[in-house]
Symmetry: C2
Subunit: 227 residues, 2 copies
DNA sequence: GCCTCACTGTGAATAGAATCACAGTTGCAG
DNA sequence: CTGCAACTGTGATTCTATTCACAGTGAGGC
């Protein structure tokens, strides 16, 4: 298969273009696309059409094609999309084709769970280092990762080549923490703390509030019951 | 303050209406609104205008007013919104004014973290019981919650009056698991497993893929660097 | 009691995302 | 080599969400 892949890469290298603007919604679907492509590749599928592919991801074929078209042209008409090739391209687009170091802030219950969560590694992310304010935790090693004091931020982050951060700390002083992290050169923050973070200059913030998800479900279930 | 609250509840009971259709996006913002209202109440704020309120939540005042208007009329012109009253109403709308029992499926790293995560209780959710396929885990008690075998589903769920479920299992057989859970009378499923679940009949499914969030951030950070 | 001021709730306007539908292409069969 | 069948990429359209902007209203001052 490798030869075929090489051939495919030479003859069918996609016209990747750095498009003006890609919708955030499209970006969110990208990882789902990549995951399905990986599965297909594992199953030995070489080409797939938008119809079947869309079915596996759970979107309409039109939406899939539209999403892909923001990044260039991938499809080989009447053969469909080259699974391996496109998987690689997706990874390259998302910047996950090589492993990236991530720092964790807050080694509480959630933080420790994230440290032992294997899903990150599978997708090209490695939590390399942890930080906490609690002096009892500083200096200890959790799931193979050393925990530093917040004060050591500026020296430790460059050492581990960290460019992304995950926040799982207490809500108190969350914004200040985010600001410090951004100032230390981090450009993207994933926030698990149920409190709003105003994105520091030059830094993207993504909020994930798992209780909010439950609340949404609760609303839907109740609403349905009432109707 | 309690007297005032009582008075407020009597004199200013909001015109709650079961509106035809509420946008999902509105629902997602609801929990943010409620969280801010709780904070304001703790700080002793009694009334607040849409301008300041929206600022705290991070939305525009127009959007806030529009969102609220799907549920009825809350505002007291020229005094603004009654913080306590509205917080209660939000809880009632979301069905979180009384604690709800939730079942957890999969007691791996993530599952155990969720068991010890205190955030759920604070918002009216209680993980009452856990299930796992691993015979080593069945019968044990994790963070105060007993772990049952999947086979006991049908008898145990009603016992704990569970109406919502959280999935944190292996990806294998995820859809089958979701179907079984729904068949046992659960109407809402929060899925942490990075694999698509087709909602079973009469059941809502909400997917939360934390790696996907990191991938999104990675894309944004890279895109910015390229531009 | 009346006037003023500023706020809410909402119709109208805009922006944005998803879908439709088809022109253009390409592999393949004969 | 020619014609067919079916797929992609995309302009046009529809649908949905957000923002604008203002009519109507109630609290407070005088």
């Amino acid at each position: 298969m490798s030869d075929q892949v090489e051939a495919a890469m030479r003859s069918e290298a996609p016209q990747m273009r750095a498009d003006k603007h890609v919708s955030l919604q499209t970006v969110e679907r990208l990882s789902a696309y990549r995951r399905v492509l990986e599965e297909l590749d594992r199953d030995g599928v070489e080409y797939i059409h938008s119809q079947q592919f869309a079915g596996l991801v759970g979107v309409t074929p039109a939406q899939l094609r539209r999403d892909l078209s923001s990044f260039g042209t991938f499809g080989n008409i009447s053969r469909g999309y080259n699974v391996y090739q496109m998987g690689r391209t997706m990874s390259r687009i998302m910047g996950t084709d090589s492993t990236q170091s991530v720092a964790l802030f807050g080694v509480g219950d959630l933080g420790r769970a994230l440290l032992s969560y294997r899903g990150f590694e599978e997708r090209g992310f490695h939590i390399a280092v942890a930080f906490d304010v609690d002096q009892d935790k500083v200096g200890r090693v959790f799931a193979g990762r050393r925990c530093y004091a917040l004060e050591e931020l500026a020296t430790v982050l460059p050492e581990y080549e960290v460019r992304m951060a995950v926040l799982a700390s207490r809500p108190e002083g969350l914004q200040a923490l985010a600001d410090r992290v951004a100032a230390a050169g981090v450009h993207a923050i994933l926030n698990f703390v149920p409190k709003r973070v105003t994105p520091p200059e030059g830094c993207f913030v993504e909020n994930t509030d798992i209780s909010a998800k439950l609340e949404k479900l609760s609303f839907l279930a109740h609403a349905q019951a009432t109707v």
